[in-house]
């Protein structure tokens, strides 16, 4: 299977976008998962519903909302542009879209993991002088590592496959925002493009497969490390 240079670029970009999407959204997903698992506050169910939104809305709508918010003329976008952060037509925008689409998946996996951690361990750390941050970093975080890993895999897979929101938000610029799914989509638009589409689909499946295999292997190691197996 040989690839055109542009296809290589799409593969490389997809990887870059997915990795960044996961890396950047992970801390927020962890914070949100922890919040939803451990704290009771008014409006918690609403927050949880909000987190699920990108799942419920058609990706195109999400992309459109992103455009309205983070576009060059969007409310947040204009303000961020002053800080030198631009999403429109950049790979960063593709990463943002992928991160937002994968967010509910990551949060749920992490939330389930936090719910399984015994709060008594955190109490013990508290009596040893650990403040809230130290408790979280030194105790909770290592113990929810399997859940974080599961969330990261889901987020990565989702990012590799994300298309609707991405193309609506940042269009399809080869080398900047043309990810594998955009390239696949373009192939499917012309008669006879199926073979090209299948070639790229196999590629993205292979990447995701690799990610899942690595995560399964990591999960075993983590489980051993925290004494679960």
């Amino acid at each position: 299977m040989t690839l055109e240079p542009q296809e290589w670029a799409a593969l490389a970009l997809s990887l870059k976008v997915s990795v960044w999407a996961v890396l950047v959204s992970l801390p927020f997903a962890v914070a949100m998962g922890w919040l939803l698992a451990r704290r009771d506050f008014p409006g918690k169910a609403w927050l949880s519903a909000l987190v699920h939104l990108p799942l419920v809305l058609p990706p195109v709508v999400t992309g459109y909302l992103l455009l309205l918010t983070f576009g060059a003329n969007g409310a947040v976008g204009r303000w961020l542009a002053d800080l030198g952060i631009v999403f429109a037509f950049r790979w960063t925008g593709a990463a943002l879209a992928a991160a937002i689409m994968g967010f509910p998946l990551m949060v749920r996996a992490i939330r389930l993991a936090v719910e399984a951690v015994d709060p008594k361990l955190e109490e013990a750390a508290e009596t040893l002088g650990a403040g809230a941050v130290a408790r979280f970093v030194l105790i909770t975080l290592p113990l929810i590592a399997p859940g974080i890993l599961a969330g990261a895999v889901l987020g990565f897979a989702k990012a590799m496959g994300e298309f609707g929101a991405t193309i609506t938000f940042v269009a399809n610029i080869p080398g900047q925002t043309q990810t594998l799914p955009s390239a696949i989509y373009a192939f499917l638009q012309v008669p006879g493009g199926e073979t090209g589409a299948i070639r790229l689909a196999i590629l993205s499946v292979a990447v995701a497969l690799g990610a899942v295999l690595i995560s399964e292997w990591l999960a075993r190691r983590v489980a051993r490390r925290i004494g679960r197996a």
Binding site: N73, F89, T168, A171, N172, I173, Q178, A186, Q189, P191
Partner: protein, 234 residues
């Protein structure tokens, strides 16, 4: 011969939404339309979709269907035409010249929004125009290709892209943009919207609908949405 209790199912290109609804006003039978991308519609038809009539946004996919024998022979006709326009956000100044330098200057680091130049019909026509007009090499690095022409229009209307290549019909309906250049139809393949009856499904009612769409009242309805009427019944 159509009666009200009968139903025709039309698989139509998504860009026809609205116009098609207006055009079937007064047709006696019930018309059900499933909108989608032309490629998707064509593939669905070959997989046994319950479509009586297909109405696509370009000829390529209709050719593809024809090759596969999916159409009732001799029912294909080009019902509509359209034109390409170059649009800018509503408040933007007019464009003095359509030269590479002028366009790049207007983009000023921004992007030219256009449908996917390999897959989306508007993008394919647009690419053809840019190529024949000698603009392609300079503009190519400045394109933002979209999933469909509506997304390109939205980018311009939102001010995300300073320029966009869209159909005249779309530009007409969008108050957020102004047309800064009307593309010479001679510089690209004719923009046509072919329709045909689906083999094995399209019956008399569908045939009647196809005829109805070619007639002046329907054609006028399309024209009102910015499409170019083509349809004299053969």
């Amino acid at each position: 011969p159509a009666r009200a209790e009968e139903t025709v199912t039309v698989f139509a290109a998504a860009s026809l939404r609205g116009a098609l609804e207006a055009a079937v006003e007064g047709f006696p039978a019930r018309v059900v339309v499933s909108y989608g991308g032309s490629g998707v519609l064509a593939r669905q038809v070959t997989q046994g979709a319950p479509a009586d009539l297909v109405f696509l946004a370009n000829a390529v996919w209709m050719d593809w269907l024809e090759e596969r024998g999916a159409l009732v022979p001799d029912t294909r006709r080009d019902l509509l035409g359209n034109a390409l326009v170059l649009v800018a956000p509503a408040g933007a100044p007019a464009l003095d010249a359509v030269t590479p330098a002028a366009l790049v200057a207007r983009l000023d680091g921004g992007r030219l929004a256009i449908g996917n130049t390999l897959g989306v019909p508007a993008g394919i026509y647009g690419r053809e125009w840019l190529t024949t007009a000698g603009l392609w090499p300079e503009l190519r690095p400045h394109l933002a290709e979209t999933e469909n022409v509506r997304a390109a229009l939205a980018l311009v209307a939102r001010g995300e892209a300073p320029l966009g290549v869209v159909y005249a019909s779309d530009a007409e309906a969008e108050p957020g943009v102004r047309v800064v250049h009307a593309v010479d139809p001679a510089l690209h393949a004719p923009i046509v919207y072919p329709a045909a009856l689906v083999a094995g499904r399209g019956g008399p009612v569908a045939r009647a609908l196809l005829a109805h769409l070619s007639e002046p009242p329907a054609q006028a309805a399309f024209a009102a949405q910015g499409f170019r009427p083509l349809g004299a019944t053969p």
